[in-house]
C-alpha cells in the first residue's frame, strides 16, 4: 500500500471511512458496496479488500496492552540476594520472577536459579515456613529433582528461594523441537512419573506441575522444579483471601478439580496434572475447550466437563504433536489404551484416578511393553451421573467472580481447613510409617540395586518393609488402597527374589510364596469390590505372574489352577457393565494361555482344538477393531504361536499356513502405520522365520533358508540398535540356530559351523555382562547353540570330514551343551534339543567316533 504513489493522507482518510463502513455490511454485500462507494476507482476497491481481509482471525491483535501496571517492574539484576549475585532474569510466571545467580563467595561460581515470590502471593512468613520444612525438602535428593537450596527475603520484603539451576527447556517444547515420537515421549513421561512418586513417598506434593516446571536438558535428562514451593505458599497463617490469590497465581490450565474447588490437595492432584501434561504431550493441545485467557470458563470446565479422549482431538491439532505421524496414524496409536491411561489420570473424582504416580508410570510401561494396561474407561455412572451432579458448579468457588464473594468463600474455606487439619494430624503418624515402608520397598531397594552382590540386602529390606506394611494393613482392612499397596509390595518382593528364573531353587520357591501372598490380598480386594475393574485387572495380572512362575517351575497343577482362575476373573470383569475390548481380550487370552499350558504339560491332542478356537477368537477380535494396532499385533503373535504348534504337532500344514499368512497380513497393516516400530519389525521377522519352518517341512529348504537369513538380518539389526534390550539379541540367536539348521540340512556344514562358532562366542561374552534375570534364557541358548554345533560337526564327519578333529569338536560341543543346560529344550523359533534328538546324535557319534565313546557315555550318564 505504501508503494502506491497515489496514497496520500486524504486518500487514506477516505479509505478509512470506506473500510469501516464496508465492514458493517454483510460479507455478501461488501464487494458491491465497495464498488459503488469507490466510484470506478478499482485500486481503492482492491486496497479496501486487502485491508478487510486482514480482519480475519485478528480479534485479539493489539488488544492486550503491554502497559498494564506490573508489580514486577522493579528488577533485582546485578544485586545480591544472600550469598548470591543475580546475573539475569530467566523467566517470569504467575508466582513471580525467576533469576539466574551465582554464589558470590564461591570459588566454583556455582550457578543457581532464584525464584522471587510476588508480594501479593507470599509474605515473609513464607520463608519462616520454608525454614520449618527445610528438612523435609532436603529428603528430595533425587537426580531428577532440582533441589531447593536456600530461602530468604529481599530488601523490600519479597520472599525468595534458591534452587539448582537447570539449563533445559520445558518438556512439551523439548518434545516438539526434537520431533520425538510417541514412544520417546512416553519414556520421558515415565521418568516424570517415577520422580513425582519419589517425592510423594516423602509426603511432598508438588501442587503446581506443568511443563514449565519439568525441564529437559540437552542430554535428555529430566529435572522437576519447584517441588514443595507451592506448599509453602499455602497455609493457615495466610491472610484470608490468600488461598484465592494463590489459586490465581497457579496455572489453572493444569489444576485439578479439587484445586479449583479449594478442597484438600493430595497426591491425586499431582496425578491429575500429570494427566493434563500427558494429554498435551500426546495431542499437542490442552484437554480443555475454554480459552486459557478466560479463567472462569476454564475453572468451570475443569470441574464439570470430561475432556474429549485424546485420540478424538488429534485432527484439530496443528503443532506440538508427536512428529512425523499423520493425524490418522496418531489417532490409531492413541485409541484404546493410551486414551484410557490419560482419561484415568484425568478423572474428576480424585479417588478414582491412579492410586499413585508410580501406578500411572507403570501403566505407561505396560503399554510400551505390550502388556495389558490397568486403565479402563470409567463407567457411565461416574462419567455423567452421580459424581458430577453432586459437584455441581453452584457449590463451587467461582474463581474470578466478585471479590466480595471470593473473600467470603475464602473464610469458609479457611474454617473447613481447620476441621480437615485435625483429621489430617491423626492420620499423619500412620502415614509416615506407611511412607517409610513404601520408601524402603521402592527407593532404598532401587538405590542399592546397583551395588554388586546386594541381592540379599535388597531382599531383606523389601521383606522387612512388606511385613511392616502388612501389619498396618491388617489393622486397616477396609482401606483398599493400603491393601493394594501391600500387594504391590509383595509383588516387588517376588521380583527381587528373582521369579522362577532365579538362580537357586530355594529362591524360586520364596518368590512364588511372595506372589501367593500378593494374590491373597488381590483376591480380597476383588471380593470387596467385585465391580471394580481395576481390582479385577490387577488380580488378573498377579494370577498371570503366578501361573507363569508355577509353570516355569514345572508345577503344572498349580499353573493350571491359576490359569483357570485368570479365565474366571476375566469372565467376571467381562460381565460387568460396559465391557471393553481389553476385557474381551483378557478372556480370549486366558483361554489361549490355558490351551498353551495344556500343549506343554498336558495332552497335546486335546489342546490343539482349543488352540485353534483361541486363534479364531483372536482373529475375530482383531477384525472387530482393525485400527487397534496393539490388538492386531497380539493377534498376530498368537496366530503365529498357534500355527507353529500345529506345524510341530501333526496338525494340518495347510491350516498352519493359513494362520501364518493371516498373521503376516495383520502385521503388515500394523507396519504400515508404524513402519519403524521395533516391536513390529521384530514380530514380522519371527513370524517369517516360523513360516520358513513350514516351507522347509514341504521340502523347499533353500527358500526356507533365504527367509530365515532375512529374518536373522532384521533381528540382528534390531539387537544392534538397542543393545540394552537383551530380548532382541536372544531372538537373533534363536533365529541363527534355525538358520544353521537349514544350512546343515543343505549339507553346507562348514558355513553352519562357522556361524555357530561365532554365535557361541557372542553368547559367552553376553553371558558375562547379563543380569541375573536374563541368565537363564542365555544359558538355554548357549546349550542349544553348542548342541547344534555338535550336530553340524557330526554331520561333517559323516560327510567325510577329517575324522579325528571333527569327532573331537562334535563331542566337545556336546559336552558344552550338557554343561550349559539340561536337554529337553525347545526354542520358540525351532531350535530343538529334545531327548530323542540328543539320543539320535549320541548314537550317530558312537558309531562314527569310536575313540570318543567314553566321553559320550559320560554325557549320557550325567544327563539321565
Amino acid at each position: 500500500m505504501l508503494t502506491d504513489p497515489a496514497m496520500t493522507p486524504d486518500r487514506w482518510q477516505r479509505l478509512t471511512d470506506i473500510v469501516n463502513d464496508a465492514m458493517e455490511q454483510s460479507a455478501a454485500d461488501r464487494q458491491a458496496y465497495l464498488v459503488a462507494q469507490c466510484a470506478g476507482d478499482s485500486a481503492l476497491v482492491r486496497q479496501a479488500l486487502t485491508l478487510i481481509a486482514n480482519a480475519t482471525g485478528a480479534t485479539q491483535f493489539l488488544e492486550h496492552t503491554p502497559a498494564l501496571l506490573d508489580a514486577e517492574a522493579e528488577t533485582l539484576i546485578g544485586r545480591r540476594l544472600g550469598a548470591y549475585r543475580v546475573i539475569t532474569e530467566i523467566a517470569r510466571g504467575g508466582m513471580g520472577a525467576v533469576l539466574k545467580a551465582v554464589r558470590d563467595d564461591d570459588v566454583y561460581k556455582k550457578e543457581v536459579a532464584i525464584k522471587v515470590i510476588r508480594t501479593d502471593v507470599g509474605s515473609g512468613k513464607v520463608v519462616e515456613r520454608f525454614k520449618n520444612e527445610r528438612q523435609l525438602l532436603a529428603t528430595l535428593d533425587h537426580p531428577h529433582i532440582a533441589r531447593v537450596i536456600d530461602g530468604g527475603t529481599t530488601d523490600d520484603g519479597r520472599p525468595y528461594f534458591v534452587m539448582d539451576f537447570v539449563d533445559g527447556e520445558p518438556i512439551d517444547a523439548y518434545c516438539q523441537h526434537r520431533s520425538l515420537n510417541v514412544v520417546q515421549r512416553l519414556m520421558l513421561f515415565r521418568t516424570v512419573c517415577e520422580t513425582v512418586h519419589f517425592a510423594h513417598q516423602r509426603l511432598i506434593v508438588h501442587r503446581d506441575l506443568k511443563p514449565s516446571n519439568i525441564l529437559v536438558d540437552q542430554a535428555g535428562n529430566v529435572k522437576l522444579l519447584d517441588f514443595g514451593i507451592a506448599k509453602l505458599l499455602d497455609t493457615q497463617s495466610a491472610p484470608k483471601d490468600f488461598e484465592l490469590t494463590v489459586a490465581l497465581a497457579m496455572t489453572p490450565a493444569y489444576a485439578s478439580p479439587e484445586q479449583v474447588k479449594g478442597e484438600t490437595i493430595t497426591t491425586a492432584s499431582d496425578i491429575y496434572a500429570l494427566g493434563v501434561i500427558l494429554y498435551r504431550l500426546l495431542t499437542g493441545r490442552s484437554p480443555y475447550q475454554s480459552e486459557p485467557t478466560k479463567p472462569l470458563d476454564l475453572a468451570r470446565e475443569i470441574v464439570e466437563t470430561d475432556p474429549h479422549r485424546p485420540s478424538t482431538v488429534v485432527f484439530e491439532t496443528h503443532e506440538g504433536t508427536p512428529s512425523s505421524i499423520e493425524p490418522a496414524r496418531l489417532k490409531r496409536a492413541l485409541q484404546g489404551d493410551l486414551d484410557n491411561i490419560v482419561m484415568m489420570a484425568l478423572r474428576k473424582d480424585a479417588a478414582r484416578r491412579y492410586a499413585s504416580a508410580e501406578q500411572l508410570g507403570e501403566d505407561v510401561r505396560r503399554y510400551l511393553d505390550d502388556e495389558p494396561v490397568l486403565a479402563h474407561q470409567d463407567s457411565v455412572f461416574y462419567r455423567t451421573g452421580k459424581f458430577v451432579r453432586r459437584n455441581r458448579w453452584s457449590s463451587v468457588l467461582a474463581i474470578g467472580g466478585s471479590i466480595a464473594l471470593a473473600a467470603t468463600a475464602a473464610v469458609a474455606m479457611h474454617q473447613a481447613n481447620d476441621a480437615r487439619r485435625e483429621r489430617d494430624r491423626a492420620e499423619s503418624h500412620f502415614n509416615s510409617v506407611r511412607a517409610i515402608a513404601n520408601k524402603l520397598i521402592f527407593d532404598v531397594h532401587d538405590a542399592v540395586e546397583a551395588v554388586p552382590g546386594s541381592t540379599k540386602a535388597r531382599e531383606i529390606i523389601v521383606r522387612e518393609a512388606v511385613t511392616y506394611l502388612d501389619a498396618i494393613a491388617a489393622q486397616n482392612e477396609s482401606r483398599s488402597e493400603l491393601v493394594a499397596e501391600v500387594a504391590s509390595g509383595y509383588e516387588r518382593l517376588a521380583q527381587v527374589q528373582g521369579g522362577w528364573r532365579s538362580a537357586s531353587m530355594a529362591k524360586r520357591e520364596e518368590s512364588i510364596a511372595s506372589l501367593r501372598k500378593a494374590l491373597a490380598l488381590r483376591e480380597r480386594l476383588a471380593q470387596m469390590h467385585p465391580t471394580d475393574k481395576l481390582a479385577l485387572r490387577s488380580l488378573i495380572l498377579t494370577l498371570g505372574k503366578l501361573g507363569e512362575s508355577a509353570g516355569g517351575m514345572g508345577n503344572a497343577e498349580e499353573a493350571t489352577t491359576h490359569q483357570e482362575r485368570v479365565l474366571a476373573v476375566s469372565e467376571q470383569a467381562m460381565a460387568l457393565p460396559n465391557p471393553e475390548l481389553t476385557d474381551e481380550l483378557n478372556v480370549v487370552r486366558a483361554r489361549f494361555v490355558q490351551a498353551s499350558h495344556q500343549m506343554r504339560f498336558g495332552k497335546k491332542e486335546n489342546a490343539l482344538p482349543q488352540i485353534l478356537t483361541a486363534m479364531q477368537d483372536f482373529d475375530a477380535l482383531a477384525k472387530r477393531d482393525p485400527r487397534n494396532t496393539r490388538l492386531q499385533r497380539n493377534a498376530a503373535a498368537v496366530m503365529n504361536q498357534g500355527a507353529y504348534w500345529l506345524l510341530w504337532n501333526n496338525g494340518s500344514i495347510d491350516e498352519a499356513e493359513r494362520y501364518f499368512q493371516r498373521s503376516l497380513a495383520l502385521l503388515e497393516r500394523s507396519s504400515a502405520s508404524e513402519p519403524n516400530s521395533p516391536s513390529i519389525r521384530r514380530i514380522i521377522a519371527i513370524v517369517n522365520g516360523s513360516y520358513a519352518e513350514l516351507i522347509a517341512k514341504r521340502g523347499a529348504l533353500q527358500h526356507a533358508l533365504d527367509k530365515q537369513i532375512d529374518a536373522h538380518t532384521t533381528l540382528t539389526a534390531l539387537a544392534d540398535e538397542d543393545r540394552e534390550n537383551i530380548a532382541f539379541r536372544l531372538d537373533a540367536w534363536a533365529m541363527g540356530l534355525a538358520m544353521t539348521d537349514k544350512l546343515r540340512k543343505l549339507n553346507r556344514n562348514d558355513q553352519a559351523i562357522s556361524l555357530l562358532n561365532q554365535q557361541q562366542l557372542e553368547i559367552a561374552a553376553q553371558s558375562k555382562r547379563a543380569q541375573t534375570a536374563s541368565q537363564q534364557p542365555i544359558r538355554e541358548l548357549q546349550a542349544l547353540t553348542a548342541f547344534e554345533r555338535a550336530r553340524a560337526y557330526a554331520q561333517k564327519r559323516d560327510a567325510g570330514g577329517e575324522k579325528r578333529a571333527t569327532c573331537n569338536s562334535a563331542v566337545g560341543a556336546l559336552i558344552q551343551a550338557s554343561e550349559h543346560g539340561s536337554f529337553g529344550l525347545t526354542d520358540s523359533v525351532g531350535a530343538r534339543a529334545t531327548k530323542p534328538d540328543v539320543m539320535t546324535l549320541v548314537t550317530t557319534l558312537r558309531a562314527t567316533c569310536p575313540e570318543n565313546v567314553e566321553s559320550l557315555n559320560a554325557i549320557v550318564a550325567k544327563w539321565s
Binding site: P9, T16, F61, P66, L68, L69, E74, P170, I403
Partner: protein
Amino acid sequence: MDTEITLLLSRSAQGDHQAASALMPKLYDELRRVARNQLRKERSDHTLQGTALVNEAYLVLSEGKPQSWADRQHFFRLASQVMRHILVDHARARAAEKRGGDAQMTSLDKTAFAFADRYAQQIYPDQPTRESALRLEIDFVALDASLSALRALSPRQAQVVDLRFFGGLSIEESAQILEISPATVKRDWTMAKLYLKGAMQAKGVTHAH
C-alpha cells in the same frame, strides 16, 4: 505535581521540543517509580486486571490536584510514547544481544523486559515465557516500523495506537485526550489495526491470533 515535571510538561504542551525531550527520561523514571510504589502498597482490592500504568502514574503525579487540560492531554501522549520507546528499544537491544552485540542491558531494558514478558503472557498464556518473549521482540520492532509508515498516512491513527496499545487507555479516554469523538477513535483504531496487521505480515512476522 513535581514542579520540574509540571514546568516541562507545560512548555512541551506549548510546542517546546527541547522541553519534550528533557521530559521523556523523567517520565520514564516516574512511570517506574509509580510501578514500584504500587507494588509495595498493601492493596486490599485484589483486582484480576492490572491498571493502565500511565493512568496510575498520572494520578500519583497530579496528587489529585486538577491540572490544566492541555498538560493532562500532553502527559498521556508523551507517556504513551515513552512506553513505546521502552518496548521497542528493548526489543532492539535484545536483537543486538542475540547477534553477539553489546550485551550490556540498561535498567530501561530490564524494566521493558518485564513489560514484554507480561504482555507475552497475556497473548500466549500457554507458552513458555521465554519463547513468546522472543517472538515479541521481533514484533515490537516490526510494529514500530509499521507504525512509522502509518504515521505518514495518518498521524492521528498512529496516536490512537500509541494511546490505546502503548498507553493502555480506553476508547473514551483516548477520545478525550485527542479531542475527537469516541466513534472516530474507534474507526481509526479499526483501520490502524487492519493496516498494521497487514504490514507486519508482509514483513514476515506471523502474529498468531
